[in-house]
Amino acid sequence: MAFFKVQGIVKFFGGLAAVNGVSFEVKEGEICGLIGPNGSGKTTIFNLINGYFALAKGEIQFQGEKISGLKTHQICQRGVGRTFQVVKPLKRMTVLDNVIASAFLRHHPRSDAVKLAEETIEFCGLTHYKDKIAKSLPIASRKRLEITRALATQPKLILLDETAAGLNPHELEEAIRLIKKIRDSGITIIIVEHIMKVIMTISDHIVAINHGMVIAKGTPAEVVSNPEVIKAYFGEDYRA
């Protein structure tokens, strides 16, 4: 039984198949990188896993159970957390309140939720922003708040959508360290990232897609040397 399995999923926008028969598996405890050029369907795959969009075809299984067809909040309750590429902070709430709202999912007396929220904020290095209103945060911290909030729901699998985009080199190092720390805490990760340095150094295994279809799967080294991937990223004429 695979820990997480996507089987032949399809999603149309109008006549366009944004995701067209994608299948892959993720093992427990690994970091799976999902790569592909702009508009290739990565975020849409997350939205399908997350239940934000309904599948036109295919099935998604998590821990041996079918989760496709469930509502978004039910999928989160099963243990799948996510971040948004276009961050969605709860703007007029403090960072702490953002995370408390998440922590309530599995921790009921308020004091327990607060405790978990504070620990998670500490874990993600947002402590000095704790009492700031979320909309006042700089972008790097907002991305981090996305991760913090997702972690506070205590997921077993977390979907990270370009959480390192737009960060400076120093922030990038920190982001990589945080992602590794999340993996080391026992959470399985699927990560979408354009920055090759990030994806190559942290992924155990990579799925490359283009035009909504899988074009390569394997270790980072295998995938980057795959001619299909090179073609997708650099065009027809590129020869290494």
């Binding site: 509502k71 909040h73 957390g81 948004f84 969605k88 902070p89 709430m93 309530f104 997702a150």
Partner: protein, 335 residues
């Protein structure tokens, strides 16, 4: 932590107020204020805190009012039973309504509540065998003195504020605000947004329904035009919420006070000041002015909303620090 003493002082003041304010007219106004605190708190919970604009508060208000009236006129039961029952039956309406309409986002919910408001008004008008239609229903008032009504209204106002305060400190409160801030984020945080929006609406409907039943008991007469009124009830509820401060616990209290005062100023032509000027000067055009002023109150409501939104977007309670700064700036010593 310091216990806030403000609310207790306020409560003490409200408890002894009618004993100092013996004039029945001002007692009447205070009863209306307290009733509007309940309606405003209900509106604020679903609209201010949960972000789902309730455009038809009169649907629940009128439903509560008719529940109380019909208990008395059809079943011969005391209209006071309408207080709990009006609240509960309003929830019974809010539940299926929310279940259907909360699948719609944004303005659709607001419009659906407006439709509910109008549907109820028409039903109450047309179903004459039950409601006597436009003739309305007369209910024997229990007390001659205003005092008992005042204290019942005060109890309901306190119930409303305490309920909203407790809810907003709990998990539910966090969920309501999360839904207001970003529904997609809330869903992906594991929050069943449909369920919690319904929960919020049900609590609101409960409070507004009770206020409706109070109105029947206090006024002793209702008809569809009054209790299902779009501008006297539904719009007024929005104004009470906005003027006091959207998404603040005490906003509805301040909003209710101001809005009842504003409404009264217009209805009476500045508490009779215009009449007085008219009489003492003998200017013939004053009676015309009085007529226009009392009819212009709807317009003035609109202007008030614009002023509040422009200068105090968070309402009087929400922007209190701003108001205090600009009012007392000169008195503060420079540091």
């Amino acid at each position: 932590m310091k216990r806030p003493s403000g609310p207790f002082l306020l409560l003490g003041l409200l408890l002894i107020l009618p004993l100092m304010l013996r004039d029945a007219y001002y007692q009447h106004l205070m009863i209306l204020v307290l009733m509007w605190v309940a309606i405003g708190s209900g509106w604020n919970l679903i609209s201010g805190f949960t972000g789902q604009v309730l455009f038809g508060a009169a649907a629940f208000f009128g439903f509560g009012a008719y529940t109380a009236a019909l208990l008395s006129s059809k079943l011969g039961v005391s209209a006071w039973w309408g207080l709990p029952l009006g609240g509960i039956l309003s929830v019974a309406i809010a539940f299926p309504f929310g279940w259907i309409c909360f699948r719609l986002r944004g303005p659709y919910f607001a419009l659906a509540t407006l439709a509910l408001n109008e549907i109820f008004r028409h039903v109450a008008t047309i179903w004459e065998s039950l409601t006597d239609g436009m003739i309305g229903i007369l209910v024997m008032q229990t007390f001659i003195s205003k005092l008992p009504y005042y204290y019942v209204a005060l109890a309901i106002a306190i119930l409303s504020i305490v309920t909203v305060d407790l809810v907003m400190r709990s998990r539910w409160g966090y969920y309501f605000v999360s839904i207001r801030e970003d529904q997609d984020a809330a869903e992906s945080m594991g929050i069943d947004t449909l369920y919690y929006k319904m929960l919020s609406l049900c609590i609101s409907a409960f409070l507004i329904g009770i206020a409706g039943a109070l109105y029947t008991n206090y006024m002793g007469f209702i008809d569809p035009k009054v209790v299902f009124s779009l501008h006297e009830i539904s719009i007024m509820a929005i104004l009470v919420g906005i003027v006091g401060g959207v998404g603040t616990i005490y906003g509805p209290l301040v909003g209710a006070f101001i809005m009842v005062a504003v409404q009264e100023i217009f209805r009476t032509g500045g508490f009779g000041v215009l009449h007085f000027i008219g009489q003492s000067t003998g200017w013939p055009f004053m009676s015309g002015v009085i007529k226009y002023v009392s009819e212009a109150h709807v317009l003035s409501f609109g202007i008030l909303v614009i002023v509040v939104i422009l200068f105090l977007p968070n309402g009087i309670v929400g922007d209190w620090s701003l108001i205090r700064k600009s009012l007392f700036k000169s008195k503060k010593p420079a540091v």
